[in-house]
Symmetry: C2
Subunit: 433 residues, 2 copies
């Protein structure tokens, strides 16, 4: 499990000039406030901290490592997820240089530094290296996680654009059609993905924006999604959050502290193949629109039957508290099972999926409203797993989920997530080695 | 200036049953974590707090008062703004009952309580009173601010649907067309507005969702907007945030501590008329799309010329630091003014607008991306002013703003914001008195 690094950022041996770090600027801003406070009464600085409205934090996670950050990292509360397509003229060299440039940028951004060391005080006759909107904000626990879609290896026409088709992970295929899928092409697929998670949405947006800018001419945004409330815990140190059905979500999620489960169910092992993906994972993203107006008019008993848990505590309907294991055999006096056979908790449970578990890392979203005045809201589901078969098995099993009356899947994508980069190495280095 | 209330919530004399407060549930959740921590090593609770990823806070602002909260309240960092239209069958009684129900709900939500006192542990055969996704979250500084659009008083056909046309504020008219307006009807106008601001977006979204649900059959969402980063400070205790151009925004904004300016420029006085609006204000909302890709390719010198300030510090180009007054007469050796005549800081400055000032309270937004891979991003501008003429004057003066090359106004709305409700009174009570 990654824990925040409390040492000074390692900006790498190439940074000989003084970097204008976001953290550094924050210090200056704080000093400015302190100056004002002297004129405004004692204690104003404390007040400033309490009232600042900023959600950023000093959490900081190492970028380099055996695995990419942003998977078993304790789930931050904000997301900007982006899928990119390579441009029609991009070459293998362009892809390699893009990954190299993205790696260098991500290593800086996650440590609270700006893109480039000139930042915004550089050459007046050139655009600034960094777009600037995160200046003054702390690192905010930013993680940036990269993935490769099936079309990167072989496009829809079957063309091996980048000379990597022979290295395609055999399991990296477009997901099958699932019952109830109503997928929108504009919210699905992609050659590459970037998942930016942070405690402050401005920091996550800044990362995607600058990576998109760096990609100019080589790759462009295909779709992107903001999420505002994590819907899973990935650490036992976190409380279980609630999704927009109002229920706790992710109670039984794989937690970083379950190291055996993480090894068994999340990381691709060397024996799984291909060798370049060892230490990586597979990411599945599903944009799930919730029909929340219908849900909100549904009686509490029916909501709880659909989920299989009670709404307040999150305990299984068989009894106990949130973390009590569901008893799918417990029956009422009339002989019916306390947990409905079509409930979500039952159909998603490992007992009914040959022991399958996923590491979920999804987010709530609201994208305004539709023309009928209904909030365009739901769950942006993200899961990480050692094999796509894990997601596929569970999702097929959810075909009879009572919850399906209240949701529709409108976006879908799958990516192979390469292992972490060692210092001096680029993300994806093992693929091109 | 409102300051957070540290006393127990006043849930009103009608709440004789024990209310299931969000704060109360948080306490339970915290206790659960502490229990886990005992098994996981000392200090885990501290870790839980540091890594929770939650941005919510215990800030809590009184709902009742002479003015509505959410105007001079220190700007929280997250927004969900919603415009509603009354339903075609709604009567005057429906409007009055809606405002009464909204007032009761807002008084509870802002104090960290749920809708209704049964919350999610109530009658199994009825839908829960509260949708539930904010259970366990602290009050998070939530403010809810209501406004009345011109069409509430007289609709597009000129009909006085609710018997209030005679009480229309003479200044409450649709805004004139401004040069460069490219307004989309689906993001403009509205009979009513609700501005929900909080430190946690899930708390703001929860408020709009539940108010929308309460409105069912009487009013429906016309459009809504999420914002994630405040772009103005409304208190001297706050640092100046940055907009998506990467520049500090709102340096010269009216601050709550400038009580004379607030009285002169923000609150409608009894002598302004109409009497029912005394203590209220006018809210202007403008959705401003930024063409950020063009901006990001613009050289730093040009960016700074457009804004009239430097990017790092935010100081006027005439010199000094962020809070130094711009000197529009300062010249370079070649005779040109250091601050360009078309710069935003000059054209928006009170010196060039007959002394006009606004209280700005806008937010950054990113609504995914367009089909060309450009982020659909910008500034959701909100200003409060004693008279709409203040906004109109400044906006007309910005017709020659050099910034116009990089922005387009796509949404627009204006609302009369009634005064605050006294305890036991509804928002808008003075209008119907």
């Amino acid at each position: 499990m990654s824990t925040p690094d409390t040492t000074l950022p390692d900006t790498g041996p190439s940074d000989t000039k003084a970097a204008l770090s976001r953290r550094g600027l924050l210090g200056l801003a704080g000093a400015g406030v302190a100056g004002l406070a002297l004129g405004g009464g004692a204690g104003a600085l404390t007040t400033a901290a309490a009232l600042s409205g900023a959600s950023g934090s000093s959490n900081r996670y190492p970028f380099h490592g055996a695995h990419q950050a942003g998977i078993v990292t304790p789930s931050q509360d904000r997301l900007h997820f982006a899928a990119f397509d390579m441009s029609s003229t991009a070459t293998r060299a362009d892809l390699i240089s893009l990954l190299s440039d993205w790696t260098a940028a991500a290593a800086r951004l996650t440590q609270g530094s700006t893109i480039g060391d000139g930042a915004v005080d550089g050459e007046l006759l050139a655009p600034p290296d960094d777009t600037g909107e995160a200046l003054g904000l702390p690192p905010s626990g930013l993680t940036i996680t990269f993935g490769f879609g099936p079309t990167l290896f072989r496009d829809a026409a079957g063309t091996d654009r980048f000379g990597i088709a022979a290295r395609t992970p055999p399991l990296l295929r477009e997901l099958p059609h699932f019952r109830g899928d109503l997928l929108v092409a504009a919210a699905s697929g992609g050659d590459l993905c970037v998942q930016a998670c942070a405690d402050d949405p401005q920091v996550a947006v800044h990362a995607i924006r600058n990576l998109s800018r760096i990609a100019f001419g080589r790759a462009a945004l295909r779709w992107s999604q903001l999420g505002f409330g994590r819907t899973s815990s990935t650490s036992t140190a976190q409380t279980t959050p609630r999704n927009l059905f109002g229920f706790k979500d992710g109670t039984a999620n794989i937690k970083a502290e379950e190291t055996a489960a993480v090894d068994d169910d999340v990381w691709v092992s060397a024996s799984d193949g291909p060798a370049w993906l060892a230490g990586g994972s597979y990411l599945v993203a599903r944009k799930i629109r919730m029909v929340i107006e219908n849900w909100d008019h549904t009686q509490l008993g029916e909501q709880q039957r659909v989920i299989g848990r009670d709404k307040g505590e999150g305990a299984p309907l068989s009894g106990g508290t949130e973390f009590t294991e569901p008893d799918f055999h417990a029956r009422r006096a009339d002989g019916s099972t306390k947990i409905d056979a079509q409930s979500h908790v039952r159909l998603a449970h490992p007992d009914f999926n040959k022991g399958t578990r996923l590491l979920r890392r999804g987010y709530n979203f609201v994208d305004g409203n539709d023309e009928l005045g209904r909030l365009n809201a739901g769950l942006f589901f993200i899961s990480f797993q050692r094999s796509p078969e894990q997601f596929i098995r569970v999702q097929h099993n959810l075909a009879d989920d009572a919850m399906n009356e209240y949701i529709k899947h409108v976006g879908s994508a799958i990516f192979a997530v390469p292992p972490g980069a060692r210092a001096g190495q680029s993300i994806g280095a093992t693929l091109f080695a």
